[in-house]
Symmetry: C2
Subunit: 354 residues, 2 copies
């Protein structure tokens, strides 16, 4: 046994990878980025300030992907994280409805902006429209994340359309975090639309360039976009220009690359779902992103044992608002997943987790 | 006459440069970056997440510049802007003492973080220690910016040491924005020191790489640094990795490059100060940075006339808390400054500004 782990936040596992450790923690693609992203690196020599809103060629390119859009509808940000942060700061104050389990940064982001999170518990990993309708009335915004980190679930298109309708009627903002939009195994992405919809997206997952930190938000609400630009003028100014060049060039990546990546992810999804089911875990079959969130008894003890005795990193579900579960990312190659699964099977003999 | 200008914020002048416009507005070096910064661009191919705190080699290099420091004392940020934003968010709530005139982002940054700005008016562009002592007692932090944007003034080392003493005694945080530390014409930089000092700095001005957005904060207060990292984990994650590589390589730039740049800035400083004095303006001689803040009657009308009739951009002092002044940057080559000065002289005949 090593020193006791402080399991208050996922930060406990930062820097603990390598040296035989198998990490199911990391929320980023392990696959290499497309050559286009790298090629984007050396084309810029002018290092002066760029536009706070983001460079025009990148916003022009994005506007082709969003129906009825212009470059004015976009703000380029330091990843989806900053897009969310700016969004809540621009919307504050007020309540934000957050489906639970949630991505662990959501509650602190809402609170740091001076807003208040209100939770609606997912049923079988999906939004419960009855509870949603009850709670949405008091809220200024709702945060949708489909496909979801940590559940791996997607919402039905019908549900998303119903959310569009309800929120439009009430004048509630929809903040739709679609960073996994290119990693849906069941259907194409459904882009939630409306006058008070804010879409948050990123180049990180689609093009495996998380560390470059380029994301964006989309909104057709000019006042909202202006407010975001005003805040960003003070808090970070333009998003780094080299990263924007890389993102621009990455968009040239042929669709075949994304489809090929999807095939790899799908193979891993099938594999880990099957194996976890065989081990006896109760879990949802992932429909998007690259996470599973199996039920797990004695989760703290199991996660501690996994790390100390088997050098396997799994995240506590409680960090994501799911205290009776653990979260695993399958952004690992199949051999690593297989080796990790063997160790998990051994750990299950020590800690009763089913 | 064109359409009326909305002079509420400096944003009015964004995108209005070029086509014969001479802008004294921009707060960034016009000189090219050192070749080292550009050379840093292509060395990284791993685009996965980096450390939230910043890459170790860059923090190691920085720690050599700060006495008794280790890499743990630094957090690499998206420019000095994000360093300030994270600092106030980590210190909130409470009051922040802000010397006035101030950099225009200071009040919104303090307020966005949920803190309250309290002002101490500079006397002849310098801190009035009597007023400072009175107001500091109620504050959680004070923001020092020497050399200052917009005043171009530096504080005496004795004043800075007195501030160190007073704040240490009261347990007040000092947030020292030293982004112009390599642009002091009178003496070397004095790095304010102490257990509750937070230094904010940037590679932008020294290495002419504003658009790359790499800055950092330094603090010997471990709890503060940890809190900043925790917030940044949610709000933006790691600072873009390519930019950090560029900053690391830029630090190899020979000191001679910085000294040479200083000579150019000093020449411009002398020139613009002499010419503005000849024109009859009442202004302080800049001791650092690259701004002048002359007194100006009818400032709104003068700035409007300058822009509409003479295609010259000058900033309103009121954006910086100095309503009876205008602010001009001399980050322009001498020929441009000279041409601009001629136009300003003409405009003075139309609008009584002295």
């Amino acid at each position: 046994m090593g020193t006791p782990l402080n399991l208050d936040t996922p930060a406990v596992f930062i820097g603990r990878q390598g040296n035989g450790v198998i990490s199911f923690g990391s929320g980023q693609p392990d696959l290499p980025p497309p050559k286009e992203a790298i090629e984007g690196i050396d084309i810029r020599k002018d290092l002066r300030y760029g536009l706070i809103q983001g460079q025009l060629p990148l916003r022009e390119n994005l506007s082709k992907e969003y129906p009825d859009s212009t470059p004015d509808n976009f703000v380029i940000t330091n990843g989806a994280s900053e897009a969310l942060d700016l969004t809540f700061r621009a919307l504050a104050p007020g309540k934000v409805l957050v489906p639970r389990p949630y991505y662990y940064s959501y509650p602190p982001l809402v609170e740091l902006a001076g807003m208040e999170p209100v939770y609606t518990d997912l049923v079988e990993g999906r939004i419960d429209l009855d509870d949603f309708k009850k709670k949405i009335k008091d809220c200024k915004a709702v945060l949708i994340n489909s496909p979801s980190n940590p559940t791996g679930r997607i919402e039905c298109v019908e549900t998303l359309k119903e959310i569009e309708r309800i929120t439009a009627e009430l004048g509630v903002y929809v903040v739709s975090d679609e960073v996994y939009k290119d990693l849906i195994y069941e259907r194409g992405n459904y882009h939630i639309n409306g006058d008070q919809v804010i879409t948050v997206n990123s180049f990180s997952k689609t093009y495996a360039m998380c560390g470059v930190r380029v994301g964006y938000l989309w909104s057709s609400d000019k006042k909202f976009v202006d407010r975001v630009i005003e805040i960003k003028t003070h808090t970070s100014m333009n998003t780094n220009l080299v990263g924007q060049d890389m993102a621009l060039k990455a968009m040239d990546t042929p669709r075949a690359y994304i489809d090929e990546q999807q095939l790899i992810w799908r193979g891993r999804r099938d594999f880990i779902y099957e194996k976890f089911t065989e081990l006896g875990f109760d879990l949802w079959k992932p429909e998007g992103a690259f996470y599973i969130l199996p039920k797990c008894k004695n989760a703290r003890q199991f996660v501690t044992t996994l790390y100390h005795d088997y050098q396997v990193i799994a995240y506590l579900g409680e960090w994501f608002g799911a205290p009776d579960r653990i979260r695993l990312s399958y952004a690992l190659d199949k051999e690593m997943i297989e080796e990790g699964l063997g160790r998990i099977a051994d750990a299950m003999k020590k800690v009763p987790c089913l």
